[in-house]
């Protein structure tokens, strides 16, 4: 592989990884608070369609991204209200949210099919952004840098900040957190809203950057890969960054090897890799019993404050 090809490959990998990274980072925080929201795909689609619609009307992708974050947050709040306030089952509510997102986005998007928009360019000046080698660092749009910054921010938040500590406490032992006086429901609302915003931004990365258009089910199931990624990374932000790029490599390597006329392994096996690897990670972290790498203890359990 020559240098040009290697760098081009990395650029494509980063593109493919960024949206799942964003959505997974949001879901990581949600799960750390003890909530399992399976509606990632639905929220991504809501973000994708509204982000695209707003961008095609205003011509401003940044506005589109912000709107995508807001609308997906609203969708997430439906989930939060049902599961947190009304203590509905999280699995069923998450699935319903996905069905809702698919339906709503197709309906909203009808009027925007066939539109095109201008794609966001790189942040840095052309000298850096188009440099044959340095573009690997400087050749990205603002969302890519944002996604990496958010990894750092979430890592710091969970590990170092007081609020992050409370969030983890709520996820590990909701009843103790409640008895010390923290608002379990409040914390989880905030986490679910954050998860929605990140999923919305991730979804809009498809409709605004990777394939700047709207088509039904544009994200084609990548919300589920994001869910796998959270588990694969064992709920650790920096590992999630690595995991996202690993998943990106898996998704992209097939295309690059095939384009070179090489078939390494059956493409179906490669496509199943993220999921197989995730199951393996699940088994491994259980075997190692390492604290902190386990699923949050209260994951998916409804919390009913007892009187």
């Amino acid at each position: 592989m020559n240098d040009y090809l290697l760098i081009s490959f990395i650029m494509t990998v980063i593109g493919a990884s960024t949206p799942i990274l964003l959505a997974a980072l949001g879901e990581l925080v949600v799960e750390k608070s003890g909530v399992l929201n399976l509606g990632v795909e639905g929220m991504m689609l809501v973000g994708a369609v509204t982000g695209f619609a707003v961008t095609s009307i205003t011509g401003m992708p940044l506005v589109g991204i912000i709107v995508a974050a807001i609308t997906a947050t609203l969708a997430a709040l439906i989930f939060a209200y049902l599961t947190l306030t009304l203590t509905a089952n999280q699995v069923a509510t998450g699935l319903a949210l996905t069905i809702f997102g698919i339906g709503l986005s197709s309906l909203l998007g009808e009027g925007f099919v066939g539109f095109t928009i201008d794609v966001m360019g790189p942040v840095f000046p052309a000298g850096l952004a188009e440099h044959p080698v340095l573009r690997v660092v400087f050749g990205h749009n603002v969302v890519v840098y944002f996604s990496i910054a958010m990894i750092g921010a979430v890592a710091w938040f969970l590990k170092k900040s007081r609020a992050g500590l409370i969030l983890r406490a709520v996820g590990e032992s909701d009843s103790s957190a409640h008895s010390i006086g923290y608002s379990v429901i409040g914390v989880r609302y905030a986490a679910v809203a954050f998860g929605g915003a990140m999923a919305g931004i991730g979804g809009s990365y498809y409709s605004l950057v990777l394939t700047p258009m709207w088509a039904e089910q544009l994200t084609a199931g990548r919300g589920w890969i994001a869910l796998a990624l959270v588990v694969f990374s064992a709920w650790r932000p920096w590992r999630l960054l690595l995991g996202a790029y690993f998943f990106g490599v898996v998704m992209t390597l097939e295309l690059y090897t095939k384009a070179a006329g090489i078939t390494l392994i059956a493409p179906e096996l490669l496509a199943a890799m993220p999921y197989i690897a995730t199951i393996a990670v699940l088994a491994l972290i259980s075997l190692r019993k390492s604290a902190g790498a386990q699923a949050p203890a209260c994951l998916g359990q409804p919390f009913k404050p007892s009187t």
Binding site: G103, L107, T307
Partner: protein
């Protein structure tokens, strides 16, 4: 005026049965309003989606065919859900079971005999069980969260299907189209009389009834309910929790696998890459809408089938977009989940009431 929730001493039986009806009615009302605001004829949309397919006897066979796999899978899932075992990978078990049955069909494609179809069904049940056994054993041995593992397994099954369709199992006379050969007459589910309804449809309803009997009248059913409702009591009672987890997962996987064979050997008549249509996920909704009770599940399966078939009717008669049906289904579940709280709580008006404040 203040609305308050007051905890009930016991879950309300009447609300348990009433809330699904409330959810469906709320969906109709909200659906009519939303689609009117969107510029469609909202009332007509509700009529075409929910009423027309239900009152037109000519549509009933369609409803049965669409509802059968949902009912079968949801019945299996409900057993696990009652034991607090969250198998959400029924879609994968459905696919894997269907593949096992298809494997038998491809091995016997040049044979004839009444034994072939039952063997395919058996293979489907075993296939579904084996596929469910993986997350079950991971949970029992390693305490791996079965929600996550069974979900991941679904996507592995999808890729396995794609691999088989594009490679080893492709129809040798099919011009490289990724699909198997057509099943032979010995491998197809017989159709009832002159209708196009295959025998899997009544079988699905009968199996749901058997499950009801099992859950309410046998020791296994009792164990499942106790393990789910009161794990500690179960331990005192000498019930083996792991055994219950395994059995309830296997029941779910087996029924999903059987549903897979019914679908493949029934409406599909072959295996194709488009086989997974999300029945395994929709069945989760059916299980909840049906209150994890076989009779409820039958009704819920039919209601979901109505919304699918009705969605198509609304498309042809009103030009309603295809997405509308999905939106109605999601709303229905949202309302059901929202009204669920009425089972355990009572709505009160006013504020200063004893026991209500919190």
């Amino acid at each position: 005026m203040l609305l308050e929730l007051e905890a009930r001493k016991e879950p309300s039986r009447s609300m348990l049965y009433l809330t699904p009806v409330i959810a469906v009615l709320l969906t109709m009302v909200f659906g009519a309003v939303i689609f009117t605001l969107l510029g469609y004829n909202g009332l007509a949309a509700v009529r075409e989606i929910f009423i027309t397919p239900a009152i037109d006897i000519g549509r009933w066979p369609d409803l049965g065919i669409k509802a059968a796999p949902l009912i079968l899978i949801a019945t299996g899932l409900s057993i696990g859900f009652r034991a607090n075992v969250w198998n959400i990978g029924a879609e994968g078990q459905y696919i894997f079971g269907a593949l096992a049955g298809t494997g038998v069909a491809l091995l016997t494609w040049d044979m004839e005999g009444v034994w072939i179809l039952p063997l395919m069904c058996l293979a489907g049940i075993v296939g579904g069980m084996l596929y469910a056994a993986i997350p079950a054993l991971l949970k029992i041995k390693l305490e791996v969260n079965e929600i996550l593992s069974s979900l991941m397994m679904t996507y592995v099954a999808v890729q396995l299907l794609y691999y088989l369709m594009r490679g080893p199992w492709m129809d040798p006379e099919g011009f490289n189209f990724p699909q198997t050969r057509l099943f032979s007459d010995s491998q197809l589910m017989p159709e009832i009389g002159d209708t196009f309804v295959h025998i899997g449809v009544p079988l699905a309803f009968i199996i749901a009834l058997i499950a009801w009997f099992t859950m309410s009248k046998t020791v296994f059913g009792f164990q499942v309910r106790v393990v789910g409702a009161a794990p500690h009591a179960a331990r005192y009672g000498g019930f083996n929790k792991n055994r219950t987890v395994l059995l309830s997962m296997l029941a779910g996987g087996g029924l999903a696998g059987l549903a897979g064979v019914f679908e493949a050997a029934g409406p599909f008549g072959q295996m194709v890459p488009q086989f997974p249509t999300g029945y395994g996920f929709t069945a989760i909704i059916v299980a909840f809408l049906g209150r994890l009770h076989p009779i409820g599940i039958m009704l819920a399966g039919v209601i979901l089938a109505i919304s699918y078939v009705g969605g198509e009717i609304a498309q042809t008669t009103l030009g309603l977009p295809n997405a509308a049906a999905g939106l109605f289904q999601a709303m229905m579940l949202f309302f059901l989940l929202a009204t669920d709280i009425l089972v355990k709580y009572r709505l009160r008006f006013g504020s200063a009431a004893p026991g209500g404040a919190k």
